[in-house]
């Protein structure tokens, strides 16, 4: 007899809990191993992994008794908050924000999380690495086992499939990354490119850092030179003379402007002059200042590619829309993969029944062949072998249809009933429960919690 485990999740995320609740439950890397060991020792918990990011804290567990496990897992979370909130208030503080998932819903949730469909910025790539780390931490601490191993391994495959088959991760969704993306439409890469940052705004510094990360050389020019030097020193950038901006422009491939000037600092005439000196070679100007630093008419000059903050924000919004469209397609893939995974798990669950059935028939076949041989006084080994072959062939033919029926029933969630019937009909030993039982009985409560707290 085997004892199948059920996968459960207890947690909260940016969808259900505000930051001040999430941060109270966040687990530091130093405490992770100890926490995993504590979780593993809770009643009903056989395997466990813990995912703690800035947007979610989730306990994944394979449990033998769902009710006991949920109760003990929540008790564990209450204990984490108790030193800050007090024992009485701890439960009230986190309970409204918690969601519980089990069986199919838990697998579905894990697949969505790993595939970045449940992320704050849908499609962001970091979450897959974080889920992998969570699983690895569990493996290193010795708290995972075959049930979680199979489920997480499938979740990683699903996430990769979604990245491969949908465009969910192809479009950038922050203003600075969109700026980098647009520059790539003009230049093949950033290696060896010179980026001139005019002004020391936060957004321009972000864009400059992103470009420096791609291999560009950054030079900062600012009316107050000391501010430029401070920023340059903090990030390892160079400094250019603001009063000799034309010279800096002549040597730049990309310009990011974000000064607080009320008037354009780069007008058409100035850029025309600069471009003539540059032999009209391409220059990308990203103007993220409000009011704008560059006269819009400058975009008509040959070789000048000018984009302002509105252009970047429109493009960012379009990218987000694109991601949401791709996310719909990804949800279909998730549904398909959950069914496939459950089919495989349930197929494994009827395996012992099929094996027991075959063993019972083989045993009967061998006994009957032996009796027939004794009664007929057969001593010729060739005849004996023929008898055995005939018995095997008969058993195979007899059992083919029941085996197929059991596997098919398992795939459509009806395997337990049929396996039970087969066990009773042929007096086989009971084979235990399937790994993934039905799941929809108390999910409504979880959804309520989510609905109440989703911004």
């Amino acid at each position: 007899m085997t004892n199948a485990l059920e996968i459960v999740i207890l947690g909260l995320s940016h969808r259900t809990a505000p930051l001040d609740v999430r941060e109270r439950l966040a687990v530091s890397p130093d405490d992770l191993s100890e926490r995993l060991r504590q979780l593993r020792q809770l009643p009903g918990v056989a395997e466990t992994a813990l995912l703690s990011t800035c947007n979610r804290v989730e306990i994944y567990a394979a449990v033998s008794d769902r009710a006991t496990a949920f109760s003990s897992l929540q008790g564990h979370l209450n204990l984490q908050v108790a030193p800050i909130a007090g024992h009485r208030d701890a439960q009230h503080l986190i309970e409204p924000h918690l969601y519980r998932r089990h069986g199919r819903a838990a697998i579905h949730h894990l697949f969505r999380v790993a595939s970045s469909l449940d992320s704050m910025v849908v499609g962001e790539p970091q979450i897959l690495g974080q889920v992998k780390d969570a699983f690895k931490n569990g493996t290193d601490a010795g708290t995972t086992g075959p049930t979680l191993d199979g489920c997480f391994a499938r979740a990683f495959r699903v996430a990769r499939r979604i990245r491969r088959e949908t465009g969910i991760g192809t479009q950038t969704v922050s203003v600075s990354s969109v700026a980098v993306d647009l520059v790539r439409r003009v230049f093949a890469g950033f290696t060896g490119r010179k980026v001139l940052v005019v002004g020391v705004g936060e957004m321009s510094a972000l864009a400059a850092r992103a470009m420096a990360g791609e291999g560009a050389t950054i030079v900062i020019a600012n009316r107050t030179r000391a501010n430029a030097e401070a920023l340059a020193q903090a990030h390892g950038f160079g400094v250019a003379d603001f009063d000799d901006l034309d010279a800096a422009l002549a040597g730049a491939d990309v310009v990011i402007t974000s000064t607080g000037s009320r008037q354009p600092i780069l007008d058409r005439a100035r850029l025309q002059r600069v471009q003539r000196a540059r032999r009209f070679s391409p220059i990308v100007i990203v103007d993220i200042a409000v009011p704008r630093d560059v006269e819009p008419a400058a975009s008509e000059i040959e070789g000048v590619f000018l984009w302002d903050i509105d252009d970047l924000q429109k493009e960012t919004a379009l990218h987000l829309e694109g991601r949401m469209r791709e996310a719909e397609q990804a949800e279909t893939v998730i549904e398909e993969e959950v069914l496939r995974f459950l089919g495989a798990v349930r197929g494994q669950a009827v395996g012992p029944t099929i094996k027991a059935l075959r063993d019972r028939f083989s045993e009967l076949g061998r006994a009957h062949v032996e009796r027939a041989r004794a009664r007929a006084g057969i001593t010729d080994p060739r005849v004996s072998v023929e008898f055995e072959r005939m018995a095997d062939s008969l058993i195979n033919e007899l059992l083919h249809a029941p085996q197929v029926a059991l596997k098919k029933a398992a795939a459509v969630d009806d395997g337990d009933a049929l396996a039970g019937a087969v066990q009773r009909l042929f007096d086989l030993p009971a084979q235990g429960e399937p790994l993934e039982p039905d799941d929809d009985d108390d999910d409504d409560d979880d959804d309520d919690a989510e609905a109440k707290n989703t911004p």
């Binding site: 439409r185 003009v186 070679s281 391409p282 040959e302 590619f305 379009l318």
Partner: protein
């Protein structure tokens, strides 16, 4: 394999790939690029098989006007695929695939004529060099056309078809320049062998059509020569270089048209 079936496979595949690439160019999803590439490759394989079978069937690529046209199309397809190996040139397919399709269709639609010029090996060399030069200039023109369209889109802040990471303007400019740099000496040799051929056969005295053809060849040669020098000395790049590349190809195309008119008349 039946040559008619191979021809149909080429036309079908190149036609379908053209549609898919055009869909991508007009803002369709990235899957169009993947399918366009697979189907273009199918057309290319059928094209190669057709040329290969033709060689065993006394229809080598330089044996007739049809075969020359088909061969120029195949060279262009090869160049496009080769350039696509290391660059994201799916949107270029919106120009390259239809151009290849036009060459293949012309090869099938125009009445065929055997290459009747004398001159033996020299004539064969001349046709081979001309076909290769024309194919490289065609590819350069395709890349330059895409440059012009893509640059206009970027300037107008219309990012349609630019969201799936197509080749940058710099890459298009570089590839176009490389095509011209390789094609120019080949085309120079083609013009030289053509001049020797025309002189040896005394065609300058008798054929006025060949004088026009030669004039277009020289105009084209000057365009590309000017482009190479302007790139080197005056730092020409981008839009100006792209327009000159397209103009040079227009003249080179007239040479091809003249050649076929002469052989079909």
């Amino acid at each position: 394999m039946n040559p008619a079936a191979l021809a149909l496979a080429q036309i079908g595949a190149y036609g379908l790939a053209s549609g898919l690439y055009l869909g991508l160019f007009l803002g369709g999803g990235p899957r169009l690029a993947v399918w366009g590439r697979y189907i273009f490759l199918l057309g290319f394989a059928a094209h190669l098989a057709d040329i290969g079978i033709g060689c065993f069937d006394a229809r080598h690529p330089l044996s007739s006007t049809s075969e020359v046209l088909s061969f120029v199309g195949w060279l262009l397809a090869s160049g496009f695929l080769l350039a696509s190996v290391r660059n994201r040139l799916a949107t270029t397919g919106a120009f390259a695939a239809p151009t290849v399709l036009v060459f293949v269709l012309l090869a099938r639609v125009l009445p065929d004529a055997g290459v009747r010029v004398g001159g033996g090996g020299l004539a064969t060399l001349h046709i081979l060099l001309s076909a290769t030069g024309e194919a490289l200039f065609a590819l350069a023109a395709v890349l330059s056309l895409l440059y012009i369209v893509q640059e206009r889109r970027l300037k107008r802040k219309d990012f349609t078809g630019l969201r799936d990471g197509p080749a940058s303007l710099e890459t298009l400019d570089r590839l176009s320049r490389q095509c011209v740099l390789i094609g120019f000496p080949i085309f120079t040799l083609a013009i030289t062998t053509g001049a020797v051929l025309v002189a040896s056969l005394g065609l300058l005295r008798t054929g006025s059509d060949i004088r026009a053809e030669y004039l277009f060849a020289v105009v084209s040669w000057f365009s590309y020569g000017t482009l190479i020098i302007a790139r080197r000395t005056a730092g020409w790049q981008g839009r100006r270089a792209a327009w000159l590349t397209v103009s040079g190809f227009a003249a080179a195309l007239l040479v091809l048209v003249g050649y076929f008119l002469r052989h079909l008349s």
